[in-house]
Amino acid sequence: MTSKDTFRRFSRLFSGCACGRHRSAAEHEAAARASEEARYGSLVEKTVLQALFPQDAHRRAFLKAIGGTTVAAALAQFLPMGMVTEAFAQGTGPIEKKDLKVGFIPITCATPIIMAHPLGFYTKQGLNVDVVKTAGWAVVRDKTINKEYDAAHMLSPMPIAISMGLGSNPIPFSVPAIENINGQCITLAMKHKDKRDPKDWKGFKLAIPFDYSMHNYLLRYYLAEHGIDPDADVQLRSVPPPEMVANLRAENIDGFLAPDNVCQRAVYDGVGFIHILSKEIWDGHPCCSFSASKEFVTTNPNTYAALLRAIIDASAYAQKPENRKQIAEAIAPANYLNAPPVVLEQVLTGTYADGLGNIKKDPNRVTFEPFPYDSFAIWILTQMKRWGQVKGDVDYAGIAKQVFLATECAAVMKDMGLTPPAPTKTIVVMGKPFDPAKPDAYVESFAIKRT
């Protein structure tokens, strides 16, 4: 008899809900879903309102005059808020597509995307993801547009360029998460070890990975600040990262602003030295992004949310310094980065040889904070405009909102029990502050530009 009683007690324990406030598990889930829907809804609307009326007093006055629900309804006509909100609220439902392909370029920027595979962050979300190594940025772009990849690792300006139709047909793309912050370097050939002042760099041939890259904009910015015109005084070449070290060895190029592990690899092979880390140009700059087409987001909202949770989870894990060594070992094999672990360790731990005989320590050499601030996108757009990649008037805030999904990232982070950062961020590039509210004035303020 006692055994039967025990059994009954246990069965009640299991059939009941997790929080104890509902009679059954089903009831608990229904209540949880309802409250989640409401939370996401208000959060999305709040953020959109904040963007429309940045000043608190104005927003409150506006809401008072018209009434909250009316405002939401009126806004919904212009912005597909309902659709995106719904997509994310459904994020906890059944996954539409379990087997996914995510493309990546073998550089340490892709760390969260790659490590999520061997360390099980994808399987934890119920996804069966194949991470596929790809030969270059143009190929990643084309394969993602062709739907061979469901999502991909892209340079953060790429989804903006694709959405605007620069270098391809305009296809709406989205960035729900940034892959990495900092983590690039300017590397020069050994023969230039005495030319540390960029003013001596006239006539240099410098390599960047892609035209629509933070590397291009940061290198141009750095050169221009030192009075070097990046179009007239030096030659900038797009070179795929793996070819950079080989070209540096062959003295075809004088240096490059490139992603790690390429920079550290040049040092490891004794062909170059690290001139500066990219964080010395802009500490906290975004580099690569996790991107997917809008079409994928709206047709597979649950899959997309699960994928995003895995990436955010992996980024949070990678952000902790104590995990970095383990990550370096996990992503070094041929299936992922195919690089010597000692090189990856130097990049990820920030204790590295600079190629000139010194050991340097900078734990923030690369960091992994996924939040896609709108101001990042606006800064990228100002540089596209500055260097003539886009002509005419640019809807800075509008494009930033459409492509960089800060609101959605915040919602998913909250859902996971993480605290999303404040939606604004101070940006200072080489001592010069950037105000995302005045992008045109920022572009105008530069002496060297192509507008």
């Binding site: 030969a135 299936n335 992922y336 000692v342 050991i359």
Partner: protein
């Protein structure tokens, strides 16, 4: 006499190989002391973070002994599969061969009938000539972006590029072979009142077969050249991807191994067609 010539040629080949390997070994061993110790004046902590090339002056190019050891490793385990980006060389070769055979097969199906048409009709020959002359010299890498953009599938794009590059030599050789069938033979066929289809299959085809096979042999060589370039560009699988992946890792040893494997495979493909060509050759 011939047997002794073959013997002597083989001897010279082996000798040349030995001299080449010796020079290679000598050149790569010449760099630095080749020791593993830390050079004086360098912080041992710093040396630990650097590669051997930077610390001991070890040559960036591997020695033949290292390549031999690497080759043994690769060839003893050719069919492992450790995920989508790391497969054995045997599997990669199989992927490449599959793509080449599909692309090349389609090229054969298109080039030979079309070659017959061009060869048998002076009008078509003149009319199609400008197109062929323009399309023939285009590099596979130039086709790739267009193929990716329009076909929207990297695997099919690679097959398409093989097709478009290997079709021309076959087409031209078939047309030439068909056009230069001896007039007497055609006249005999005409006197015997042979129908056009029977004439094509029983007179022209056997007569033109050696020239057609020569075209096919040139084409398979081109197809094999193209697959490496195409796979380096689109990645994923195949021997070209293997080269790219090892280049990415700056592992010159594995790149040299891949070059050897590609060369041997290309030779085998060529020899197979050469064997078929010998079967259809006839004495004049």
């Amino acid at each position: 006499m011939t047997s002794s010539l073959t013997l002597r040629a083989a001897l010279v080949s082996v000798l040349l190989l030995a001299v080449f390997l010796l020079i290679w070994q000598g050149a790569t061993a010449g760099f630095g002391a080749g020791g593993t110790g830390v050079p004086s004046g360098m912080d041992p902590e710093y040396a630990k973070l650097m590669g051997l090339t930077a610390t001991t002056g070890k040559s960036a190019l591997p020695s033949p002994v290292e390549v031999g050891a690497g080759l043994w490793n690769v060839l003893t385990d050719p069919f492992y599969d450790k995920g989508p980006n790391d497969k054995g060389v045997g599997l990669q070769l199989a992927y490449s061969l599959g793509r080449v055979l599909i692309g090349y097969g389609i090229a054969v199906l298109v080039a030979i009938p079309l070659g017959f048409l061009i060869g048998m009709s002076a009008l078509m020959s003149k009319a199609l000539d400008p197109f062929i002359q323009v399309l023939k010299p285009i590099s596979p890498l130039a086709w790739m972006p267009l193929a990716l953009y329009t076909i929207k599938d990297s695997g099919i794009s690679a097959v398409f590029v093989i097709f478009i590059c290997s079709v021309w030599p076959m087409l031209l050789n078939t047309a030439f072979g068909v056009a230069s069938v001896r007039k007497e033979w055609l006249n005999v066929a005409r006197t015997l009142e042979v129908g056009p289809f029977k004439r094509a299959f029983t007179v022209i085809l056997p007569a033109a077969a050696p020239t057609i096979l020569t075209g096919m042999r040139i084409s398979i060589g081109i197809a094999w050249l193209v697959i490496v370039a195409a796979e380096m560009l689109v990645g994923g699988t195949g021997i070209g991807y293997f080269v790219w992946n090892e280049w990415n890792n700056l592992s010159i040893t594995n790149v040299i191994i891949a070059i050897l494997v590609i060369g041997v495979m290309g030779m085998l493909l060529d020899q197979m067609l050469a064997f078929v060509a010998r079967l259809v050759t006839f004495p004049e």
